[in-house]
């Protein structure tokens, strides 16, 4: 096992693409170290990306934001502009684990760990975020929902690395929110997660919406039917009811130690509705 801490993205890509056997990116390490400790992975090479300056920065980019892959949740939470524009994304990222975990965990790491229950991912998907991917064959930008393909599996090719998460420019009268269900108040993995992002027109009618759910399928899912329930409405009680029903209908969960199918399906609707209410308030609308 070898440890490298390159200072440029190119150097990181070169190391990852090399013939070292199994290589792993170390950003916050909050998943990787647990997997190593419990013998689930035994990488031959660990590439620590925290010494790459570009990956440690949050930059304003064409009205949106470019968040380096090694930016921690605590750093996200401390960025006022980001918090103002994308409160749902920041609250989702800040829900991951404890204060201690927040000092380390990253959006990109949460995305690439490819857990269906990742807290930040439904919020990112709802936000229409994309991932900037660097690899031996150059760079590409893809929607975040295309990164995870199943539990623990990503679409990234050997040598590829997510270098940043990109959040688009915000339309006026927009709001987003993320809610998760956990049995305790902290420290749990989401049993269900729901991210809602919506935009209103000047009359308070919803013109665009995205709804994403976590922990109800093999990966985070975008639910267009749920979004459709909001578009063209003032996000009133009837629309919210249809949204909840559509969210529940889109779930294809499993029974596991964290919750039953039945529970997840019902609570997905409840959370989608509650998240939509918060997003509406943030967009300046009222129920």
């Amino acid at each position: 096992m070898r440890y490298e801490a390159p200072t440029t993205i190119n150097a990181a890509v070169k190391l990852l693409a090399g013939k070292a056997g199994q290589a792993r990116v170390l950003a916050g390490g909050t998943d990787l170290l647990v997997q190593m400790r419990t013998d689930r992975v035994a990488p031959d090479l660990i590439v620590d990306v925290k010494r790459i300056p570009a990956m440690r920065a949050i930059a304003a980019k064409s009205g949106g934001f470019r968040i380096g892959a090694a930016v921690s949740g605590a750093e996200l939470g401390a960025n006022k502009a980001l918090r103002k524009a994308w409160p749902g994304v920041v609250e989702a990222a800040n829900l991951i684990g404890s204060t201690q975990i927040q000092s380390r965990a990253t959006l990109a790491g949460n995305l690439c760990n490819a857990s269906p229950a990742a807290d930040s991912v439904p919020a990112l998907v709802a936000a229409g975020a994309s991932a900037a991917v660097a690899g031996p064959r150059g760079k590409r930008t893809v929607p975040v929902e295309s990164i995870a393909v199943g539990p623990g599996k990503t679409s990234l090719k050997k040598g590829e690395i997510v270098e940043a998460i990109i959040l688009p420019k915000r339309a006026p009268r927009s709001g987003d929110a993320y809610l998760r269900f956990i049995p305790r108040t902290e420290m749990d993995i989401a049993v269900v997660g729901a991210g809602v992002n919506l935009t209103l027109d000047s009359k308070g009618v919803c013109t665009a919406a995205r709804v994403a759910l976590g922990a109800v399928a093999e990966r985070v899912i975008l639910v267009p039917e749920a979004a459709a329930a909001l578009v063209g409405t003032k996000v009133d009680a009837a629309a919210l009811k249809r949204l909840a029903a559509a969210a529940s209908a889109a779930c294809r969960p499993i029974d596991d130690k964290r919750g039953t199918k039945e529970f997840r399906i019902k609570v997905a609707g409840v959370l989608a509705r509650r998240a939509a209410e918060t997003a509406l308030k943030r967009a300046g609308g009222s129920k």
């Binding site: 096992m1 440890y3 390490g29 170290l33 647990v34 660990i46 921690s72 404890s98 201690q100 902290e186």
Partner: protein, 158 residues
């Protein structure tokens, strides 16, 4: 497994050590440097007993590789008191009987200090959420929260 040579700062002192790649900072502190104040309760980042400050932020040292500490600034419970003078948090933990067995105490102290460094006047709810990553099985947290409140008030007095 290759061995990494690391130079870092711990509680203000320059320290150099060798470690294996898969050794955590907690392993290094406890087994190589004899700093056993940080405790291993879970090794998965769920209990906070291994909390240390890394470049001014509180982390679980079980989720940091020893190799990552190169050039960083690390503070552990052993560095909390100034010489023979206890930190107000330490004093208040004693005064409020905020510890029973005491194994979670180092982690709580480090996490509480990190909180008060950033927020000198936290509400009860803020304290409870800031310390949610530190498990205590003895006290039910009541006396810990009160000790932190009292230490915060003491520190605000300056």
């Amino acid at each position: 497994m290759s061995t990494v040579r690391v130079s870092t700062t711990i509680n203000g002192d320059a320290v150099a050590y060798l470690c294996e790649v898969d050794e955590t900072l907690l392993d290094v502190l406890r087994d190589r440097l004899g700093l056993t104040g940080s405790k291993e309760g879970c090794s998965t980042g769920d209990c906070g007993a291994c909390s240390v400050m890394l470049d001014g932020r509180v982390v679980c040292s079980c989720l940091v590789l020893g190799a990552e500490a190169e050039g960083r600034d690390i503070r552990t419970v052993e560095g909390l008191a100034a010489g023979d003078k206890l930190h107000p948090l330490q004093e208040k933990f004693l005064e409020f009987a905020a510890l029973q067995c005491g194994v979670c105490t180092p982690g709580f102290l480090v996490a509480a200090k990190a909180l008060l460094d950033r927020n000198p006047d936290p509400s009860e709810t803020e304290i409870r959420f800031a310390l949610a990553g530190n498990l205590c099985r003895c006290t039910g947290y009541d006396k810990i929260v009160r000790a932190v409140q009292s230490a915060a008030a003491e520190l605000r007095k300056g």
